[in-house]
Point group: D2
Chain length 136, copies 4
Amino acid sequence: MTTTPSHGAEQSVSRHVEDCIRACMACAHICNICGNDMLGMAHQAAHDLTARCIRLCRDCGDICLLAAQWMGRSSVFSIRICALCAELCELCAGVCEQHAPHHALCGDCAKECRRCAEICHKMVVESVPAASGQTS
Amino acid sequence: MTTTPSHGAEQSVSRHVEDCIRACMACAHICNICGNDMLGMAHQAAHDLTARCIRLCRDCGDICLLAAQWMGRSSVFSIRICALCAELCELCAGVCEQHAPHHALCGDCAKECRRCAEICHKMVVESVPAASGQTS
Amino acid sequence: MTTTPSHGAEQSVSRHVEDCIRACMACAHICNICGNDMLGMAHQAAHDLTARCIRLCRDCGDICLLAAQWMGRSSVFSIRICALCAELCELCAGVCEQHAPHHALCGDCAKECRRCAEICHKMVVESVPAASGQTS
Amino acid sequence: MTTTPSHGAEQSVSRHVEDCIRACMACAHICNICGNDMLGMAHQAAHDLTARCIRLCRDCGDICLLAAQWMGRSSVFSIRICALCAELCELCAGVCEQHAPHHALCGDCAKECRRCAEICHKMVVESVPAASGQTS
């Protein structure tokens, strides 16, 4: 994907952040498709689970998209939204996994959510200044 | 980019649409970065052009993102938003090209906008039923 | 609602546009609530209609919110998005009306959609230059 | 503003939440206008402050709009996003206040941000279960 323009050395967004943006966009994309796809299910069986899954996919897609945008703009709250995004991705992944036996696409969606959660989480952890360090 | 999950045969979005979604997401991404980057410019010289360019990058990013989402959900208005998106991408590309001598990233942004405009435009054209004209 | 700050004479958005922004925001708000509320329905009966209604409420909420934002920024494409918004609001209103016997909130949502469609449509019509009148 | 339809007893969103949604929407609205308005400033003087203020207004508008939507859908993460929203509103208010001598609208924007921060903060605090207190 040509998401990453090669705009010289003065690159405003680092490789590292760029990867996180991509993960967020990919996750938003599959959540969007997955949530919409579930609307077409007859779901007598797991109605409550389906409704919950649709809602989480939507919220997860929202936060992933916003996180991607804020990171792209080096927002002062980039890390904060990444942290929230990681949590919501985790939650969504868990419910999608539960729902996967009823809706195959949820299996793929769960994987993408886990991956995004992991990358966002890494962003958050690595942003913490080496703090202490009175390693003596 | 892993935007495209390989979710079996029952793929809810066609390859064709998927390409357009990617183009829109890539365009939204660079517009977001480009528009933000311009805010840091001192721009004595081309102040009005810069302001215009920032505004267009923002609007263009908005519509690209929405078009990508609607296509992903096979919205009844997918083609309508693609048409609007193509127009706005064209406009943004033109202004970014003008602004490129003052802001290098605008050159890359213009290219991505042109590419997105073209792909969106193709989506629109191909969606028109062969209508043809066996009117005789 | 305090959406309208009284920021002196240099008001960047006219009264007229402000009303349209409010209508769009109110419509986005009820579409958001209505679409989500339907997810909780067991809907054996009108499953297809419900799914269609949920999708339209979501798309309608999206476009209303974007139209409101673009009008607030006096975007060059304000009128274009208002036109698309009016059409989608009309469509959503029609489907919500059909669905109202199954979901009471759809009745209120339909009314808000019709109202927003009308105000957006008026914006579009009034933006057309008096087109001269050498009708002779 | 007619944001609040009177949809009978089965109101899916409480009065309390509705007020917070309104505050978020009003804040998103003025941030959108304010941030765009600043783009037209020549701002030789306070260039860095202006750029910072534009960025914060944009981020603040984003989070307010998302918070409003999530609250409307009774998202499981409503309170979490309200907490983030309150913080960003506070930050934006502070910078807008600093910038107000250069840009009058920033004064109104700051007030709306403070108000929204306060209401969001209250939502968060009141959501915490009475935490009992059988501390003895």
